[in-house]
């Protein structure tokens, strides 16, 4: 799926097969991360995200495949020599050392003398905003503070690659914003190649310059966050990012006939699956479709409607003020511009498309305007 040459300064995983505890989790996984960028690997629990992180860090040995970093082969090297730093889901600090000694641990292992490593550690504690906590014992700190110490500890060794496993998971929801900003700031200041893992798709979108979706052991799409939400490569990708509205049929002459009516459809004639985000489904009394509201639930920022009719099921998110009542018959428009035609699986065009996107540079802003719901 990816062309052969390893990116000179970034991370390249090729044909990775990893089977922790005997069960194959990663199946010929391929991933490329350009140097200095921030990529988020997202996916449901059990998909293999943590396994991927552990394989890159050296805590799990792959059965097959290669891992390259900055032109060096990584998977044949022991974990402690890989120059990869990890911030785990739990802080994993050493309780018998104080905060500064924890941060300086990597330097101590490298043989840096005490005054020098303490100075570097203190500087990093300052950067993560914990300057006053230098001499404190670790178990008195809050979860968020401990995670910052873990982050400082990882950065202190000046790694070539930074891996983070659900870094915001153990932090209070109202403190996540602060830690998220800190992560982005620190990464950008160092132009550090960074790979983050999360199962939350909106967190992925906020944290990553690119996002890779890991499903059932392989990367199914690696793109800008926007593309994953609005231009998913498959039905599975669409579902993960919140699009359950999938319409199948034969497009003829720019239109897709449905039992409930016909709609304008993009793309050439032929078999097609169209996806549309629930926020883009428009209630329109003059719309071509007539559907009944079967369920409605208030979700704070919007009302979620389940619309049924003529064998069709659609999910729509509408502003609360404009929400119809359950049982009402409503007109629905699916604007052509908001319909995304899923690429045919296995089609050459789709593969080329994805390949191009995966090796592309940092995010480029798409041309279409995106009306917010």
């Amino acid at each position: 799926m990816i062309s052969g040459e390893p990116a000179p300064a970034g991370l390249v995983c090729r044909d990775l097969v990893v089977a922790p505890g005997g069960r194959v989790v990663l199946r010929r996984l391929a991933l490329q991360i350009p140097a200095g960028t921030r990529t988020v690997v997202v996916g449901p629990s059990g998909a293999g995200k943590t396994t991927l992180l552990r394989a890159i860090a050296g805590l799990e040995r792959p059965l097959e495949g290669e891992i390259w970093l900055r032109g060096r082969r990584l998977d044949t090297v022991a974990a402690h020599r890989r120059r990869v730093a990890v911030v785990f889901q739990e802080p994993r600090l050493l309780p018998h050392l104080d905060v500064v000694d924890n941060v300086a641990f990597g330097l101590r292992a490298a043989g840096v003398p005490r005054p020098a490593r303490r100075a570097q550690a203190l500087a990093l504690l300052d950067e993560v905003g914990l300057a006053g906590l230098a001499g404190r014992r670790v178990d008195g700190l809050s979860g968020g503070e401990q995670q910052r110490v873990a982050l400082a500890r990882a950065l202190c060794v000046k790694p070539d690659l930074l891996l983070l496993d659900e870094p915001l998971a153990s932090v209070d929801p109202n403190r996540r914003e602060g830690l998220r900003h800190l992560l982005v700031e620190l990464q950008q200041a160092r132009a550090l190649t960074t790979l983050l893992i999360t199962h939350d798709q909106s967190e992925a979108a906020q944290l990553g310059e690119r996002v890779a979706l890991l499903l059932e052991g392989t990367i199914v799409q690696h793109d800008t966050p926007r593309a994953l939400f609005e231009r998913p490569a498959s039905a599975a990708v669409a579902r993960f990012f919140g699009t359950r509205n999938l319409l199948r049929g034969q497009v003829r002459g720019g239109r897709l006939p449905l039992d409930a009516g016909w709609i304008d459809a993009p793309g050439p004639d032929g078999e097609a699956t169209l996806a549309i985000r629930p926020e883009r489904v428009r209630l329109d009394p003059d719309g071509p479709l007539r559907l009944r509201v079967v369920a409605a639930s208030y979700a704070g920022t919007h009302v979620r409607l389940d619309l049924h009719g003529h064998g069709l099921t659609l999910e729509a998110h509408v502003p609360p003020a404009a929400a119809p009542r359950v049982g009402e018959l409503v007109g629905v428009t699916l604007p052509r511009a908001d319909l995304w035609r899923l690429p045919d699986p296995g089609s050459q065009a789709a593969e080329r498309d994805l390949a191009e996107r995966s090796t592309a540079g940092p995010a480029d802003v798409p041309a279409e305007p995106a009306p917010l719901p």
Partner: protein
Amino acid sequence: MTIPTKRPRLPPAALHRSDRPAVRRLPIAVMLAPAVIALVLLFGGGLAGAVRQSLHPTIDGAGPLDLSAWTAVLGDPTFADALWFSLRTALAATGLSAAAAVAIAVALRRQAALPRFLVALPVPVPHLLVATVAVAWLGPGGLAERALGALPIQLVRDRAGLGIVLVYLYKETPFLVLLLLASMGAELTRREEAAAVLGATGWQRLRWVVWPTIRAPLATGSLIVAAFVLGAFEVPMAVGPSYPPTLATYAAEQPQLDLVAGQAKAAAALLVAAAASIALAAAAVRLSRDRAPCLSVAGLALCLRPVGLSTVGAGA
């Protein structure tokens, strides 16, 4: 906009907490009473009886308080030898067991449950049984001597007390291994992984991550073992030398040696051993309390020498 929903009907049993009368629980004192009273009476009575005996050096234990038994014992060179011998043996047994336990625990820490279970095999075996086997193998005319021709050093009933040390080494090392393994759980593995990724080699991880984790339980466990070996009784009788005796063996000899004050002297000697054991145990408790302010009952149960099972705590 109204969303019609059906209000769920609660089953009658699930009443709100505040509607029920407060659950009447027995006061803690009542619950502890049977065990506490039994122990205070029996153990306290035992200690008190020993003290009383030591202060009445007469055949029937009557008469005024008399410290002569104490002075006799404390001045007895045999007692001094016995005290020194007991301390030496305890130190040697504890030191060797601790070293062996660390090596085994570090080697076993990532293994599955089966190896740990196998290591625990000696734990329920009675000490006297180990002594019997030791004599069969290592004694004069024993199997080791027959197989090798002659043993380079005397291992059983030797003046250095090697036989005693070996028996306790066999029995106490698994106990210490189990104690250490209990503290080397998943959390330690996670920390070791973090250290490895930060660049620490295997040896550095042992020194800076594993050792700080096990040194506290090791110290506590070692003090417990030392306290226990100090009071050694049947093992020295089986595999120990006739001279010097251990404190307990010395005490057992006294009633025959001195028909009048023998019982009192025995009691005095035993109280010295008891005091030494208590002092060591107090040090152990102080040590473990520093590390863990809320002593887990399970942890202490393991700490206090389960003669049995690695499935202890299965119900916790």
